[in-house]
C-alpha cells in the first residue's frame, strides 16, 4: 500500500523530533466553531499550532502562527466540497501535523480524514450547538477521530462519542 511509505516517513520524522514541540493543525469554520476552538488552545501549550478557517479576516487573531483560509462549502455544494478537500490536502501536506483538532464543520471533517491518511492523531470536539444530536460531519468523522467528543453528556455513549466537559 502506498500509505505504508507515508506512515514510515512520518513515523521516522516523529521519532527524530520527539523532543520538539508537536505540530498541531487546528481547524474550524468561521463563527461559533472558531470561537469554541480558540477556547481549547491552552491544552496545546508548547505545540506549534497552525490554523485553518473559512474567514480570512480571522488571520489577525492568531499572531504569527501560520494561517490558512479555505472557501466554505456545505453538503449540497459537491464541487465546493471537492475544492475544499483539495486545498486541505495541500495544507496537510505542507504542515505535516502530528495532531489535527477540529470543532467542525466540513473543513474539519476533511482535515481529520486527510491528516489521518498521513499518520496524524485526530481530535473531534463536536460543537456545543449540537444539543439534540451530533452534527452531520461529527457523525461522519467517527471512524477517523482518535478522540471523538461531544460537549453534551446526554449525547455520549459507550461506543462514543465520549463526554469530557465542554468549552463553557
Amino acid at each position: 500500500m502506498s500509505l505504508r511509505f507515508t506512515r514510515r516517513f512520518f513515523d521516522h520524522r516523529r521519532n527524530m523530533t520527539s523532543s520538539h514541540p508537536h505540530r498541531v493543525l487546528a481547524v474550524a469554520s468561521g463563527g461559533g466553531h472558531w470561537v469554541q476552538l480558540l477556547r481549547m488552545l491552552p491544552a496545546f501549550e508548547g505545540c506549534q499550532i497552525s490554523y485553518v478557517t473559512t474567514l480570512a479576516s480571522y488571520a489577525g487573531q492568531v499572531g504569527n502562527a501560520r494561517f490558512y483560509a479555505v472557501r466554505d462549502a456545505s453538503s449540497w455544494d459537491k464541487l465546493g466540497l471537492l475544492r475544499m478537500a483539495a486545498r486541505l490536502f495541500w495544507v496537510v501536506l505542507r504542515e505535516r501535523p502530528d495532531l489535527v483538532i477540529s470543532t467542525g464543520a466540513a473543513p474539519g471533517y476533511f482535515a481529520l480524514r486527510i491528516g489521518k491518511l498521513f499518520g496524524a492523531r485526530t481530535i473531534w470536539v463536536d460543537s456545543m450547538a449540537n444539543v439534540e444530536k451530533l452534527s452531520l460531519s461529527g457523525r461522519l468523522v467517527e471512524r477517523h477521530a482518535d478522540l471523538w467528543l461531544t460537549q453534551w453528556a446526554h449525547l455520549a455513549s459507550p461506543e462514543g462519542p465520549q463526554f469530557e466537559g465542554a468549552v463553557l
Partner: protein, 198 residues
C-alpha cells in the same frame, strides 16, 4: 448602547423588528448587525455586516447583547461579561434549517448563563428587564478544566513512550501495517495508559 447581532448567514426579521419597535420608546440606544434580514430598522443604527474585529469591539463596549442563539456570539458576550438575551431561530418560520437553536437555548437557559426569549412578546419583556440586570462576571476565556484536562492527556499520549515506539516499529517491520491501520484503538491503548484506564 445595546448591541444586536443575528450573524451573517441568515435573515432574522422577528428579532430585528421587535428590537427596532421597542427602541421607539427611546429608553436605550441600540445598534444592530442585521445580516441579510429584509426588515430595515427605522429607530436604531444598523449595518448588514461587521468584521469580526468590529463585532468584537462593539460587544466589548456595549451594555448588553441581544442575539440569535449562535454559540459564537453567546461565548464572546459571556467572555466579556455582558448580559445576553438570545431569541432562538425557528425552523417552522424558515429562520433556520432546523430547531437546533431552540434546543441550544433551552440547555443554556438551564445552565443559568443567559436570558432566553422564545417569542417577540417575551423578548420585549426581557428588554424591559435589562434596565435592572446587574453586570455579569466574565466567564473564563478557556474551556472547562475537565475538557482541557482530557485534551492535555491526549496530547501527552504523543510524548513517545517505549511501548508506543515498539508498537510502531512492530507495525512497520513485521509488515503488520494492515492490522495497525485497522486497529488504531489497540495501538493507542498501549501508547496511552491514561486513555486505557478510562
Amino acid at each position: 448602547m445595546i448591541f444586536v447581532t443575528v450573524g451573517t448567514q441568515l435573515p432574522f426579521d422577528r428579532l430585528v423588528r421587535t428590537v427596532d419597535e421597542w427602541a421607539l420608546s427611546g429608553k436605550r440606544s441600540v445598534y444592530a448587525q442585521i445580516g441579510p434580514t429584509d426588515y430595515k430598522p427605522r429607530n436604531i443604527g444598523w449595518s448588514q455586516f461587521l468584521s469580526a474585529d468590529e463585532c468584537h469591539r462593539r460587544i466589548s463596549t456595549c451594555s448588553a447583547v441581544i442575539a440569535h442563539a449562535g454559540m459564537g456570539t453567546i461565548l464572546t458576550a459571556l467572555e466579556l461579561g455582558k448580559p445576553v438575551i438570545v431569541m432562538p431561530r425557528r425552523a417552522d418560520l424558515r429562520e433556520h434549517r432546523n430547531d437546533h437553536q431552540l434546543a441550544t437555548a433551552r440547555k443554556l437557559l438551564a445552565l443559568g448563563r443567559l436570558m432566553v426569549a422564545f417569542d417577540e412578546e417575551h423578548l420585549q419583556a426581557k428588554l424591559e428587564q435589562l434596565a435592572v440586570e446587574p453586570a455579569h462576571e466574565r466567564i473564563s476565556k478557556h474551556a472547562s478544566p475537565q475538557l482541557l484536562g482530557a485534551l492535555r492527556r491526549f496530547v501527552a499520549g504523543e510524548q513517545v513512550t517505549a511501548a508506543h515506539l515498539k508498537s510502531r516499529m512492530a507495525a512497520i517491520f513485521c509488515g503488520d501495517q494492515e492490522g495497525f491501520a485497522c486497529n488504531p484503538v489497540g495501538v493507542e491503548a498501549i501508547a496511552t495508559p491514561v486513555g486505557a484506564d478510562r
